[in-house]
Amino acid sequence: MTDRRAYLLMFVSVAAVWLLAVRLAGLPPLTLPPPSLVGQVLWDERATFAESALSTLSTALMGYAAANVIALALAIGALYLSWLEAFTTPWVVVLKNIPFVSLASLLIITMGSTILPRLIIVVLVCFHPLLANLNQGLKSADPVLVDRLRTLNGSRWEIFRHVLWPSALPYYLAAHEIAFTTSIVGAIVAEWFLSRQGLGHVLVKAMTEYRGDRIYAATLISSAMSFAAYWLCRWLGRRLTRWQRV
């Protein structure tokens, strides 16, 4: 089965299960709304949803960019400063294993409802796969190839550019498929705790008002955003590593 057919089957199945659940469960429309009601609220409140989605996306992109800068700096720095990886590994492991919901609570107390704690949460949730894959990719470089360039008096930059980076690239691109989508989830969770805007805030507000249609609408938008992010990374990754499939 091709990728496209598999995804089509999945979307059709989800729609069918949803319709069936609405018919069989007998729950009130605001608890389990039919797709038509969700479509209606999406249309009626399109300006609010668009503004919220844009806010979530901008938080996710800023945090994601910061996570990339930090991961690249640490992974590349560790190549040339042997102590750097040993020094940062405990920090990375501890931060990775602290439930980020607890961290979010701590950040609210210390920083208040500003953009900074939201960005920190996004960085924390998407930084680890980027760093782990970059480290793995850079270490997977062929040592014989490195030796070849050393015998040609290749500089550190030339060895990095021609050997280490091309080795790391497929790993780095694979990490984006996870990290970019996770950054959107991270942004929503951060908004849930810390913001008066964004899809996370829409979800909190809809829950307190028992508006199942809005919850479903926000969920659909955030899922579409994550899905688009995943496909963008996948498409870019396939373009940049086209040689692997020749």
């Binding site: 190839l145 030796d147 070849r148 040609l152 008096n153 021609h162 050997v163 091309p166 590593t241």
Partner: protein
């Protein structure tokens, strides 16, 4: 010179070896005798523990800085995301030499004219090794170091590649140090065969190979060729017996 790793015993001990310009010296010996370590020291990839390695009248590291050394390892050192011709071009990019061979022309001469734009994973082991050797020769180095370049190939490919390599080295004549496990390969290609003992690695025999070129071994090897192979092999066996193998 000698070589030991950390506080361990000598891997190579009291090695005195001089290679004349344009000469091809083959290093043979049992696994672990330090052949590759010796070659890596000449390439500037390992330091000596005692003594010095002099290449082109200077240290090995400085000789690399002159971009006059070409190295082909047993495993083809090719960038997977670059085509055959781009991999050969990489040597010129790194060395900054524009006076070398034309990479595409060199690959055509090496019988890879139809595979210039193939990626390494699309090439057979023999083809990859040709690209590897082309990448080591494209900048016309004065020194060529070959670390079992045919060691990973099957018997048939290896035979044809040995003949091909003899032709290439006969035309280009760089000063060459060849590490090999194959006595026949050493006798076909080399002007001298140096046999290393082990624990520690020392030069046990330094045998000259005074045979006319080209040396045909796969078709109808001459009596002289066979006698030379027997001579090298008997010395090698004597060294192996002396080290308990």
């Amino acid at each position: 010179m000698s070589k030991r790793f950390k506080a361990g015993p000598d891997i190579l001990s009291r090695i005195h070896l001089a290679v004349a310009p344009g000469e091809l010296v083959a290093l043979v010996g049992a696994s672990g005798c330090g052949k590759t370590t010796l070659l890596r020291m000449v390439a500037g990839l390992e330091s000596t523990s005692d003594g010095t390695v002099e290449v082109l009248g200077t240290t090995a590291a400085k000789a690399c800085a002159l971009r006059q050394v070409g190295v082909a390892f047993q495993r083809a050192a090719l960038v997977p995301s670059r085509t055959a011709v781009e991999n050969v071009q990489l040597t010129l990019t790194i060395t900054g030499k524009s006076s070398g061979h034309d990479p595409a022309q060199l690959l055509r001469e090496f019988g890879l004219g139809d595979h210039l734009n193939a990626y390494p994973h699309q090439l057979s082991g023999g083809m990859q090794q040709r690209v590897n050797i082309a990448a080591a020769l494209v900048h016309q180095p004065q020194i060529l170091l070959l670390d079992e370049p045919l060691g990973a190939l099957d018997e048939i490919t290896r035979e044809s590649m040995t003949e091909w390599l003899a032709g290439v080295l006969g035309r280009t004549r760089p000063t060459t140090l060849l590490v090999t496990h194959s006595v026949e390969e050493a006798v076909v290609l080399a002007d001298r065969v140096v046999i290393l003992s082990r624990y520690p690695g020392q030069i046990a025999y330094d045998l000259s190979v005074d045979l006319p070129r080209p040396r045909d071994i796969w078709g109808k090897p001459s009596e002289e060729f066979q006698a030379t192979v027997r001579r090298v092999r008997s010395h090698l066996h004597a060294v192996l017996r002396a080290t308990g193998l």
